[in-house]
Symmetry: C2
C-alpha cells in the first residue's frame, strides 16, 4: 500500500505527463489515478499509473503513464473462466516505450531493474507507434528518460487473474 505522500507525489507527476501528452481528463479522473506498485516499495522505479476509461464484458480502454525510466513489472494474462486471456494493444501517445515480449532475444536499449524479468524481445515504441500483445504472453515495459503515455486497447480486463513473475508482487 502506498503512503499518502508518495501517492500524491506520483499522482502529480502523472498529471504533468498527461498534460504533456495532450490527454484531456476530467477532475474525477485526475483525483483517482490508479497507482500500481504491487507492494514492491519503489514505485517510481517499478510501477505504473492508470486511468481506466471503460471496461465492459467485451473490451477495455485505459490511459497509462510511465514516469521517466519507470518499469512496469513483468506479467501475463492467462486463460480463465472460458476467456482465452486478455489481448492488449499498446499505442504510444507521448515519449518512448521499451516493450519486451516473449521471443528471440535481440539488442536491448534499456535494462530491467531486477532479476524478475525474462521476456527478452525488445520492441521500441515512439509516439504514434503501437504493438499488439497476444494473450498469455509475458511482457514488461519501461519508459525512456522523458517518461511515456500509452493508450491500452484490449479485450475485457480482469486484473485478479494476472500472473506476475516477481513472487513479491501483490495486487492490493
Amino acid at each position: 500500500m502506498l503512503d499518502k505522500e508518495t501517492y500524491e507525489k506520483v499522482r502529480k507527476k502523472s498529471l504533468e505527463l498527461f498534460e504533456k501528452a495532450g490527454i484531456a481528463l476530467r477532475e474525477d479522473e485526475k483525483e483517482n489515478i490508479e497507482i500500481v506498485d504491487g507492494g514492491l516499495g519503489n514505485v517510481e522505479e517499478l510501477g505504473l499509473e492508470i486511468v481506466t476509461y471503460v471496461n465492459t464484458d467485451r473490451y477495455c480502454a485505459k490511459e497509462m503513464v510511465l514516469l521517466p525510466n519507470q518499469t512496469c513489472p513483468e506479467h501475463k494474462h492467462p486463460p480463465h473462466d472460458g476467456d482465452i486471456g486478455k489481448e492488449e494493444t499498446f499505442r504510444c501517445r507521448y515519449g518512448k516505450v521499451f516493450l519486451f515480449v516473449e521471443g528471440e532475444k535481440n539488442t536491448w536499449h534499456v535494462q530491467p531493474p531486477n532479476e524478475y524479468f525474462t521476456a527478452s524481445h525488445e520492441i521500441i515504441l515512439n509516439s504514434a507507434e503501437q504493438y499488439t500483445i497476444p494473450p498469455n504472453t509475458l511482457h514488461w515495459f519501461k519508459a525512456g528518460e522523458e517518461g511515456a503515455v500509452i493508450s491500452e486497447f484490449s479485450s475485457h480486463s480482469d486484473d485478479a487473474t494476472d500472473i506476475f513473475t516477481d513472487p513479491n508482487f501483490k495486487r492490493v
Copy 2:
C-alpha cells in the same frame, strides 16, 4: 465516391483537428485517413473521418474527426454471425459532440441536416466526457462549431453489417 480534390480538402481539415486535439499520428496514418460520405454528396455536412488503430476479433479502437457542424449519419450495429452487435464507447478528446441515441426525446441543442434521423435523446459530450452505446441501438452525432475529435473504443468492428437510416447511404 469522393473526388480527389474533396478528399484532400477534408483530409487536411481533419489533420488540423487531430493536431488541435494533440493526437499523434504516423505519416502512413495521415496519408490514409478514411473519409466516409456514403455517397450522400456533401461530406462536410454529412460524413465522418476515421483512423482505425486496431480491429481484432475481440476489440477495436479508432480516432474519429467531425468537422465543424458535421454530422455522422444515423445507423445501428445489429446482431450478426453469432455476435450480439457492436458496443461502442465514445470519448470526446477535443471540441463538443452532440450525440443522439434511441430514448426519451429531450431538449436538443442542434438539428439534423435532413429527415433521416430518428434517435431523439441528446447527450452532450465535452472534452474528456464519454458515453457507451449498447448494441443494436440507433445513433447519430454532430460536432459543435469547433469540430470534434472522438476516440471510439468498441467490440470488433464490421462496417458491412451496419444499418443506416438513410436509404441513400452506400458503404463503398
